[in-house]
Symmetry: C2
């Protein structure tokens, strides 16, 4: 997959050379294994990216917790056990960043690609550049990246995310990618629509039920509810709407998830916040299943409106959009994913970003700055 | 308060000079104002230290959230509002560290004294040394400081804390200090003993009730219970023991706290974990009130056993210790605090630590190292 380029050699000759393989330190959060068994969106992205970078000829050192699960040439375990119970807490996050900082000292890499929250704080102490993928809400995280200035280069996972904070040091926009081959394609659908996701007011499954009911089609709901806010929302807004035509099947594992996605007439995704990237939309389309979404966050750029689904402004428009899915082509949905949201597309996007960052470091006057709190 | 020292001047003459004033960047957590109104132990320590350093002639730049509340010559607000509701979360902690890193860039200081969790991650990017006071549990935080190596110098708040991780780069042990004058001294006590602290199994107020009852003396309990674990513990272990001789008065503000402490025959402190420093023991002694404690964490070094209280090994020994407090001198208790646990003693301890760190930086071969993940 590595592309060839012409490069001037000493003595004035020009020669076809294979771009040199990069040595990449890939830093994963410590909360789930890489790849994860179930929950763990960031860890899934990291796993797919690592494997593709390796197959593209690069040398990857993966820093992650738990068992080894990728083809990275070097695996550096940051913690014996994964720390899912402590996701969101300050101390494990900061301890993990310190560990990686220490473990990096004895290694020679070309750049660090960091997927964690606290890791960027250590970027100013390094001579090599740090690329950070913004997996969380940029509204909160902008205040982390802004003071770090040009010592971190950022990757947005959607144009919407990047557009909401245009002043940050963005290097690229690289949508998350999935392993398309691992999702079954189904041309002929069963007679239901699907909600797949957390039972959370921001995911708004109650709007999905109401829309399906108005469209006269059965809806299956699958997802977790573990946090108090999810429980409360489920009890007051979702449970009263359930019935023979609206069935909650609970948390779906990878197998059930794929079966549900592949069989659905469409995925209903009535998102009510600017989620930086909605991976489930991509997974649905990979199965040949169109997506009916509210227009928030990445939805308008993930769904090709009128071809792989419909993105509407108001909840009242969801029912009609569900009906309109009838006339969409499952093959178009899958193609949209292969072209734009596959791990291959993602790895190619990151490789371009890596080379651009390193190129800037080499240009005269383009040296990556070393920020110092004190000169 | 600044001490004079002799210093060799160019030309060989020796002269009495005032040690030069230090420019100190003091970094507080963003969760409570400095000083705090009620809860906020770290912020209280920072406030006392800042004011004493200023009165000792130093220049302090305080980085803190919320309103200005100290005599620091420069106050840099890291956040309009304090973030108590988010204490313990990763994002506000990491964002605060990034902000301080950015704000420090335009300032010239001799050293950074950091009281936060994430701040130490930024130390390797600075030319000036960073001193970190370990306010939390060293068992968890050791894994943060160890990889940072000599780029941070640590201050323990008790010998017990330091002894549990002797291999870390400790610079000094400086116990937390209180403003002794703000605590009322009472020679003659009322007929009760006191438990003051959270209703938490690790603080074990149920042991205090049982001991007081065996000693035949009334006990007053004051403290918060807001977390689920505290509520559960209170319901099952404390509430059943309450009665006419064991009364819970709820959370005590600064005024009530002082009245309760000053009037008590002793403070019962049946701590069951290695708390790095138990400030309430010091506050009690400042009021002339001895302390009866279980031997965990800092208790044996804060309480002068047999003079300002009793430190016992087993809960069964608490009742006898309560009775024995009768023969202790309230004045001895207060003197113990003035000498060892006052803000003056604390500021003097930190000043010595600052000078030692800077001296090391100046010694040939003693340069403070710049850690880099990549050379």
């Amino acid at each position: 997959m590595t592309t060839l380029s012409t490069r001037a050699l000493p003595g004035g000759t020009t020669h076809l050379v294979r771009p040199r393989a990069l040595r990449i330190a890939m830093v994963a959060p410590p909360y789930y294994p890489v790849p994860p068994q179930a929950y763990g969106g960031t860890e899934a992205v990291v796993a797919g990216l690592v494997d593709r970078l390796v197959s593209r000829g690069h040398h990857v050192t993966l820093f992650a917790a738990g068992p080894r699960g990728t083809t990275a040439q070097e695996f550096v375990r940051t913690s014996e056990r994964t720390l899912s119970a402590r996701l969101g807490e300050a101390i494990p996050e900061v301890v993990n960043a310190a560990r990686v900082l220490g473990l990096l000292r004895s290694r020679t890499v070309d750049l660090v690609h960091d997927h964690t929250v606290a890791g960027p704080l250590t970027a100013p102490s390094r001579a090599v550049p740090t690329l950070v993928t913004v997996h969380g809400s940029i509204a909160e995280l902008a205040e982390l990246y802004r003071p770090l200035g040009p010592t971190v280069r950022l990757v947005a996972i959607s144009h919407a995310q990047r557009a909401s904070e245009p002043g940050l040091p963005w290097e690229a926009t690289v949508p998350n990618g999935i392993d398309v081959a691992s999702f079954p394609f189904r041309e002929h659908k069963d007679d239901y629509v699907l909600f797949l996701g957390r039972f959370h007011p921001q995911k708004a499954p109650h709007l999905a039920i109401e829309a399906a009911r108005r469209a006269g089609v059965r809806i299956i709901l699958a997802g977790k509810r573990t946090e108090p806010v999810e429980d409360e929302y489920y009890r007051t807004k979702v449970a009263p709407l359930l019935g023979r035509d609206a069935v909650d099947v609970g948390v779906a594992d990878g197998v059930l998830k794929r079966r549900l996605l592949a069989g659905a007439r469409c995925l209903v995704f009535p998102i009510r916040w600017d989620e930086p990237f909605g991976l489930v939309m991509v997974e649905a389309m990979a199965c040949g299943t169109p997506v009916v979404a509210l227009s928030h966050g990445s939805a308008p750029e993930v769904v090709a409106h009128g071809r792989t689904g419909f993105v509407v402004e108001r909840p009242e428009q969801l029912a009609r959009a569900i009906e309109d899915c009838e006339r969409l082509e499952p093959a178009d949905c899958r193609r949209q994913v292969s072209e734009h949201f596959s791990v291959d597309a993602m790895a190619a996007g990151y490789e371009r970003a890596y080379r651009r960052v390193l190129e800037r470091g080499r240009r005269p006057g383009g040296r990556l700055p070393q920020a110092r709190a004190q000169g």
